[in-house]
Amino acid sequence: MSLFDPLVLLLVAAGLYMAWNIGANDLANAMGTSVGSGALSIKQVIIIAAVFEFAGAVLFGKRVTSTIAKGIVPIDSISLLDPHLVALGMLAAILAAGFWITLATFYNLPVSTTHSIVGAVLGFGLIAVYNGIIGYNEIKWVILAKIVGSWLVSPVLGAILAYIIFSIIRYFILQKTDDPYYIEKKFVILQTLTACYIAFAHGSNDVANAVGPLYAGLHSLEMAGLSIPLWVMALGGLGMVIGLATWGYRVIETIGTRITELTPTRGFSAEFATASVVVLHSYSSLPISTTHTLVGSVIGVGLAGGLAAVDLSVIGKIIVSWVVTVPVAALTSAMVFTGLLGVGL
C-alpha cells in the first residue's frame, strides 16, 4: 500500500495532530518549570526541548510505542482477518484521544494524553471483542493492569524521589550556607542539565501516544515491519517540537511567569525526580503521564519543606481526570470506530 493512500494519510495526519498537542501542552509543562525558576530563557528552553525531546523520541521511544501499538490490543490477530480494521481502529483511537485532549485543554482540565490514548486504544479493542473479531481474553488485561498501576505509582515515586533529593540538598548545602542566593545561582547550571534530562525523558515516553497507534496501523497495512521504522519515530518527535514552537511557548510563558516559588534548587529536585521516574517507565515499556509525575514531584519538594505554598486540591482533580478519561476516551473511540466502519472506509 502506498504512503499516499487516503487511510495512511489520515493516520499520519492524526498522529501528527496528537504529537502537536503533546508538544504544545505536556512538553511545555515539563519545560515551564525551568523558565519559572529563572534558570533559562524561553528561547533557550525551546532549543533544548527541541533537541532532547527529538533525541528521546527517536533513541528511546520504541519500547513504550510498542506497548501502545501491540501491548494492549492483539493487532496481529485482528489484521489476520482484515488489516484495514486495525488501521481504522487506530485512526479512531487517535481521533478520539485527540478530541478529548482538545476538549480538556479548552476547559483547563489536568487530563493526560497518555491516559486518553490508552483508553482510546482499549475502546477499539472492546469493539473488536463486541463484533466477535477477537476473544475477550485476547485483550491483554494483565498489561493494562500494569499500565494503570504505573499511573498510581509514578506520581508517588516522583514525590518520594523529589523529597529525598531536596532533603539531601537542604541538609548538606542549604543549611550549611551563609548565602542561599549564591547556592541558587549555582543550581542554575544544574537545572540546565535537568531541563535536557526532562525533555529527553518526556520524548522517550510521550512520543508513543502519537506514534503508537500510527505504527500499529502502518504495521498491519504491511508498511512497517516488526521493528518501528525510524521515520515514524522522527515524525512523532518532529510533531512535538512543532507543537512546542507554535503553541507551547505561550504555555511556557504562562507557567514561567507564575511559578516564581520554584527556585533553582527546588526546580532541580522536582525535574530530576520526574525525569528519572519517566525514563525508568520508558525502560519498562510503560506509558505514564509526565505532567502527573511532575505534580507528584512538586508535592515531594513541598513535603520536604521546600515550597512556600502547595495546593493539594489538584490531587483530587487529577484522580477525577484518571477515572473519567479512560472510559470517556474508550467510549468515544468505540463510537468513532463504529462510525468509520459504518461509512465503509
Binding site: G305, L307, V310
Partner: protein, 230 residues
C-alpha cells in the same frame, strides 16, 4: 472572569505564598506606628490640625493592612500545604494585625482632647513612643527574616537568628513596660494640674501606646511558636 488560556498545566499545584503578604502586612503595621509617632510629636506641640491629618492617613494604612490580612486568610484553604502549620500562621497574623488596629485607636484618641500637662509628662510620652516605635521596627526586621528562612528551608542557623530577634523584641517590650508604669505614676502625681478628665485621657493614651508594643511582643512570640512547631 478568568481569561481562557487553553492549557492543561501544572500551575494549579502552586498556591499563592502567604509569606510575602505577611511581610507586607507587618510593614503596614510599622507604617501606622511611624505615622503615630509623628502624630504624637505634633500632639505634644499642640498642633491639632496635623494630628487630625495624620489620623486620616493612619486610617487609610490600617485599612490597607486589613485588606492584606483578609487576602491571606481567604487564600489559606484547607488544601494548601505550607512549611508551617496554617493555624500557627493565622494565630500569628492576628496579633500582628492588632499593631495597626491599636495604632489607629491611639491616633483617634489623640484627636479628642488637647494636651494640658507639664513638660515632664510630654517628655515621658516622647520616650514611650520612641521605645514603642523601636520595638515595632525590630519586629518588622524579625518578620522580614521569614524570607531567608524559607529560602534555606529553615536552616538551623537562620532559625537561631530569628529566635534571637524574638528575644530582643521581648526585651524591648519589657523596657516599654517600665517607661509605661513610670509615666502613669507621673500623670497621677500631677493630678491637680491635669484634672480628672485629663488624667483619664492621658492614662488611656499611655495604655494604648503600651498595647502596641505588647502586640508586637505577642506576635513575635506566636512567630516563634510557628517556626518551632513546624
Amino acid at each position: 472572569m478568568i481569561k481562557k488560556e487553553y492549557i492543561r498545566s501544572v500551575l494549579n499545584i502552586f498556591a499563592t505564598s502567604p509569606f510575602k503578604p505577611l511581610v507586607m502586612h507587618a510593614s503596614k503595621g510599622g507604617d501606622c506606628v511611624r505615622k503615630l509617632n509623628e502624630a504624637l510629636l505634633a500632639y505634644c506641640d499642640g498642633d491639632m490640625d496635623k494630628v487630625e491629618e495624620l489620623n486620616r492617613e493612619i486610617d487609610v494604612i490600617e485599612h490597607e493592612a486589613d485588606v492584606i490580612k483578609q487576602t491571606i486568610r481567604s487564600e489559606l484553604s484547607s488544601s494548601i500545604m505550607l512549611p508551617v502549620h496554617a493555624n500557627d500562621l493565622l494565630n500569628f497574623l492576628k496579633p500582628q494585625d492588632s499593631i495597626s488596629d491599636d495604632a489607629q485607636e491611639v491616633s483617634f484618641w489623640l484627636t479628642l482632647r488637647k494636651i494640658e500637662a507639664p513638660d515632664e509628662i510630654r517628655y515621658g510620652f516622647c520616650a514611650l513612643m520612641e521605645k514603642t516605635l523601636a520595638t515595632v521596627e525590630l519586629y518588622e526586621d524579625l518578620v522580614a527574616t521569614l524570607g531567608e528562612l524559607l529560602e534555606t528551608s529553615f536552616s538551623k542557623r537562620d532559625v537561631e537568628d530569628t529566635l534571637g530577634l524574638v528575644t530582643k523584641v521581648e526585651e524591648m517590650e519589657h523596657q516599654v513596660d517600665i517607661i509605661e508604669k513610670d509615666l502613669v505614676k507621673k500623670i497621677f502625681r500631677n493630678e491637680n494640674e491635669i484634672g480628672a478628665l485629663g488624667v483619664y485621657h492621658l492614662a488611656r493614651l499611655v495604655r494604648g501606646i503600651g498595647d502596641i508594643a505588647d502586640k508586637s511582643e505577642h506576635a513575635a512570640d506566636r512567630l516563634r511558636t510557628m517556626v518551632l512547631r513546624r
